[in-house]
Amino acid sequence: MLAVQLSALLDGETPGVTETLDLVTGFDDALTHGLGRLGGDRAAALAALAGAVSASPLGDRAGEAVDKITAGSVAGDHLTALAGARTALLGAVHDALLARLDTALGRTRAAWEAAAAPAPAADHLLAAARSWLHELAITGWRGVDHDLVSASSQTVEALLAEPRLRRVAVLLDGLAAELAACCPIATAPRVPARRWADLWARAVLLAQGLPADPDPEQVSGRLLVLGVDVHEHGTAVQAQVHGLLEPAGGGAARLVRASVSAAKVDTITGPAVWRLLQAHPVLLGALAEHRSLDLTGMPLLASGDLLWHDDRAAAGEPADPFAVARVQLADALAPAVTPLDRHPVRIAEPVLLEGYTVDGEALVLDGHPLAVELDRLPRCGPLTPELVAASTACIGLVRWDAGRWSVQPLAVQATVKRKPVTAHAGDWALGPTDPKVVKAEAKAGDVVAVLRERAGRLLRK
C-alpha cells in the first residue's frame, strides 16, 4: 500500500456513512432498552430506520413492522423485517467502504453473479432459535438476566449437533456467553450496543435458514499463502488463510481464502488451538514452513472461499509471503462478496505496508497514520505489540470499525537488537518455535489431550 493509496483511503468522509450509521445507532438504542416498551423517541428511531429502506423491496414490511411494534404488538415477522432493514443499511455502508478501499488500492473485484437460491425448508431447531432471539429483542439488553440467557442453552446444544446449522450455533453460543458474562446487564456500566445488535440481527437472518451456496468451481494451480487471520471465542476457533491462487490454466492471480474451524472450550487457548485443527496437516504445514501449495480440483466458491480438502493440496516449494505480496498482490483479482455477508466487519483486504514509521498504535506512511489493531494479535502466534513497534514491513488486513480504518498485522519484518526478525501469525501452526513458549506449553501439558481423555472416560460411562 503506497502513501498515495493510504491518503486516498483516509482523507475525507465516505458520503452517507455517518448518516446511515446514525440510523443504525437509533435502532441499536431501542434494542438495548427493549422493543416491548418503546418510548416516543425510540419509536421515532425505528420509523427512521424503516424510512431509509422504504424504496427497497423491504420497505412495506419494515414500515408495517414499525407500526405494529410501536402499537405494542410484536410478532416474529416484524422483528425479522427490522433485522433485514438494519442489515440492508449496513450492507450499503459495507459496499461504500469496500468500493472506496478498492478504488484506493486500484484493486479489481469480481461481481456477484450467482442467482438467488430458493429459501430452505422450515426447521424446528431454527424456530427455537428465533423464539429466543425474539424474546431478547422484546426484553432489550438491559433487561436480560441469567434465566433468559440460560434459556438458549438447549437450543444451542441441539444446533451445534447439526453440522449444517453450525454457523448460527457458533454465533448464538458466542452471544449467549457474552450476555452471561455481563449479567446483571441492568446495572452494567455500559452495553456494547452496536456489537450485540449486529450479532442479534445476524442471528435472526441466519435463523431463517440459509439458501444453499451456488455450486463451487473446481480449481487447480498454485496457492501462495499471504497469512492467516485467527478468529476465536470460548467455544470456537477458525483459521482463515489468505492467499493468491495462480490458476493452472493461466490468467490473473486470484485472492482466495481457506477457512478451517473447530469447536473448543475456553481453557484451550493460545498455541494449543492449532492442535484442534490437525485434521489439515498440509495447510498447517504451509503456514508453519512458508510453503506454497499445489491444489488439484479444490472447490472454490464465488465468494473466494476454498472449501478446503487437505487431500487435494500438496506441499510445494518454499514461498516467502513478503515476496509474494511485493510481486503479485497489487495486480490480484479480488472475489465478489456474498450478498448476505455484506457488513463492514467482514472487510479484511490483504495489503503490504512498507517504509512506514511507527507512532504509538499507528503506522505512519508519509504523514498518514493508519491505526494498528494490536488487540487482534492472536495468542497462538509470535506476533506481539513490541514486534509491530519494531517493524519496517507488514502484511496485514485492512479493517474498518466504528468510523475508523485500521490494519490487522498478519506478518511483520522487524529489527530487534539490530538483527532482522520475521514473524507470521501462523508460524506456530505445527507447534511453537520460540523456546520460551515451548517450555511454557510443556509445563502446562497437552490440555487438548487431558480433556479428550476426560471426555473418553466420563461421557461414555
Binding site: 446444544e157 458474562a181 476465536e232 470456537a236 474451524s261 469447536a263 489439515h280 457488513h343 488487540d375 475508523r404
Partner: protein, 162 residues
Amino acid sequence: MSADAPAWEQRSTARVVSPVQPRKLAKVPFVELADGRLQGVVSSGSDIGRVYVSSVAAGTHTYDCSTNNNRPCGGLYGAPCKHLRLLVDEAVIQYGLDRVAGYLRAEVGDDGDLIGALGGGVERTPAAMVFSRFLRHLTYLELPGATTPVPELHWFPAGVAR
C-alpha cells in the same frame, strides 16, 4: 476520520469477554463462575474414574465438595478440603484474582489469600448440575470440525484487549 480510538459502544468488534489464561488442566479440568457460584470439577488423585464436584457460593461463601455420585468428600471437616483449595487456585489462574474475588464478593487482604477469606462453612449443594455442565463442556471436543467458512467469526477476532 482520525486514528483516535472510536467509541466502544459503536464498535462491532468491541471486546466484551477477556479470553481466560491458559493453565494446566490435569487436576482441575473444569472451572466456571456460573449460577452464583465458583464451581468446578477436580479429578481424584487416586481413582482415575472418579471426580469431585466443588463449589463456593458468592456472597455467603458457603462451600461444598462431593463426588459426582453425590457422596460427601471425606476431606471436608469444617474447613475447605484440598479439592476446594485446588479449585480456588486454578480459578485464580484462569480468571485472575480480581475477577474471582469480585464474583464471590470476597474481601481479599494484601496477602492475596482468597481461600482464607471464604469462611461460610459447609452447605450441601447438589453435584449433578455442575457435573452435567462439565459433561456438556466436554462434548465440544467431540464435535466435528468444519471447512466451510463461518463468516460470523469475524465478530470474534482472536487476541486480547491491550
